[in-house]
Assembly symmetry: C2
Homo-oligomer: 385 residues x 2
């Protein structure tokens, strides 16, 4: 079945979403069934606006640049697709001779992908999903492309900030991480540790309700022992009722704007313990840093792009390319196809076995799972005892 | 004059302070006048506590690791040196056969350095200063080691976040930079721009009082044109009366703890314009990132360490190793010695000629001055118009 291929990005970018695009273009060039490779400019909204751009014929040099470009090179959106939009799609695809559609995104985008698949069943357009999220909250897979780099960013940044705080131990540094509902990224800060007493000293994930007294007692304990203390905290930390520990300031559609959890915790340490504290919140930098991309993550991002093209050309539709970790001593994965209704909007949280007993650290089992995704954290030298 | 050399770090670390330490150790090994190289562990306080560690005999491998280690490998402090402390120093140096003392730090540390020089004039200990600050506010020099890397961090991070915001243009991102009293780092965000409309769109430095109406008008204008807007702002932004635009929360000695300027500005955009906004504040990460070190900065950091050793051994005291930019087409520096009383506590701010007419951007003249210090910012690819 010969025709054009359309690739669509949904939701927030990752450090390697353009690596997946690289994989899609590379693979598409190998299949005579595919004429043009279109990018939907500006995400799902780009489909409705028929804003398609031929991206398949760029030079090798430009292709390589995709591997080093943050953000989404074809744009993205958080567009809420309406029923009318879905109904209009088969006609749009027909008009542009689009036979293959790839959706690259997280849970919300996989929901869209499943619905597009359903409206396209009659017209025979193949619709495939590609996983992507820094949050690692897509279910039915071991991990999602984008997570490894976000995890590496936090691990290496916390290791570096830890050296800074250790050398001038005058304050508590609270470092805020992305991942509103799932603590995968926050937990990855633990990979920064090589020696006892290394940062992070306290890890607060949204899977555990915030206990102010326990938190302050831990800060005090580490402060007395080390002087400088590093805390890693999820932006989505909640209390026992499941409410954010800082009040929401602004709400629009599915998104809520909260005050910074890290500033709130630093303020608590200052006011309640009289200990100097500060906060760091890299925010968007944590999903757009090219220097701290995980090589494994980049390779897997390319791979899932390639596999999605292969599956679509082979006549598969209504599935997402999965990532399954293989048994065995050394790290390896395969990429089984997962029916899209097993994925749609099912959020995967950090399981209990990965969170330590006091709820403020992670287990060795988590670190074993994490390490191949993040890669090595550099060694440092210190003359301080 | 044969004896030991003591090196002391003061104030906040930079990404290359350990590179200067590398230079000091490397150079000291070449001079038979120097027996041991001691590090004062924990900064100036380490002198008073006589917490000296022999760091001159480490392996080449460990030495190379210094170039890749953030923080200060021998620690640092913000210790307020008392008159009694100064008086005690000649005896302490004598006790440990210390004939050469190097202070590596910013304005406050150079003040200490000058005073130590004076109390040591009779005993003949040579006391030299080495410039170091991310803020670039040391006067009488073209720029300070540490600044180039902090500038590169902000430039590359803003370029990356700019790609993220461009690809999903749903909000205003306010990125907070270090540099409380001087806008050198904030201004360096402009190096992120390669094309018109690239981030940062607004730059707010502490040398210009914050004008809320003008700021909001600029945000609105860029939002209407581009959707996504990136603002770079100094942590120390003040109003017309010179007061921080956010209230101080905590004060201790010379340091004041403020609420986050970036969160304050994002809140303004949300409340007053109804536009979605968020804030990023890399904080300590901006002075500890090894991946984004400027190579020029690292080389110059090594050089000033070497030059300080040479000067001390040559019998110089009471001076700081300077950095002077040479005239000519290509970038080059030399390292004249500057009498320490020309440096002490004189803060160098961004001059008017580097700030644009509307007070919310920098001039081409600044960028020309900046570029060799930061190095190249990578190219990216985008299929968006």
């Amino acid at each position: 079945m010969s025709g054009n291929l359309l690739v669509v990005h949904g939701g927030g970018p990752t450090a390697v979403i353009n690596s997946t695009l690289y994989g899609v273009i590379k693979e598409a060039r190998l299949h005579h069934e595919i004429d043009m490779v279109y990018g939907a400019i500006g995400g799902t909204e780009g489909i409705i606006r028929e804003n398609f751009r031929d991206i398949g014929k760029i030079s090798e040099e430009m292709l390589e640049l995709l591997l080093k470009t943050p953000g989404s090179a074809i744009g993205s959106s958080r567009y809420d697709v309406s029923d009318e939009d879905y109904k209009a799609m088969p006609e749009i695809f027909k008009r542009h001779d689009i036979k293959y559609v790839l959706f690259n995104g997280g849970n919300g985008t996989m929901d869209t992908c499943g619905k597009v698949h359903r409206v396209c069943m009659e017209s025979g357009v193949m619709v495939m999903g590609i996983p992507k999220t820094i949050d690692n909250d897509i279910s039915a897979i071991d991990h999602a492309p984008g997570f490894g780099s976000a995890a590496r960013y936090i691990a290496e940044s916390v290791a570096e900030a830890g050296q800074d705080v250790k050398s001038l131990p005058i304050h508590v540094s609270v470092i805020e991480t992305m991942g509103r509902n799932a603590g995968w990224i926050t937990a990855a800060s633990a990979a920064a540790r090589k020696n006892p007493d290394d940062a992070p000293h306290i890890i607060l994930v949204p899977e555990r309700p915030f206990d102010e007294d326990k938190f302050l007692a831990e800060v005090k304990r580490f402060h007395e022992k080390l002087g400088g203390v590093v805390v890693a905290v999820s932006e989505g930390l909640t209390d026992k009722e499941g409410k954010s520990i800082v009040p929401p300031i602004f709400q629009t559609g599915r998104s809520v704007y909260f005050g910074d959890v890290s500033a709130h915790l630093a303020g608590l340490v200052i006011r309640k313990l009289g200990i100097k504290a500060r906060n760091e919140k890299p925010g968007l930098l944590g999903r757009s840093s090219m220097a701290l991309v995980s090589e494994t993550d980049r390779e897997e991002a390319i791979l899932v792009g390639r596999e999605a093209v292969k599956a679509a050309v082979a006549g598969k539709s209504g599935a997402m390319v999965g990532i399954r970790r293989l048994e065995g001593e050394s790290y390896g994965i395969d990429t089984p196809l997962i029916p899209i209704d097993k994925v749609m909007l099912h959020e995967m949280k950090l399981p209990d076995r990965y969170i330590s007993g006091n709820g403020m650290d992670v287990t060795d089992e988590y670190l074993e799972w994490l390490r191949p995704l993040v890669g090595d954290i550099p060694d440092y030298i210190s003359f301080k005892a």
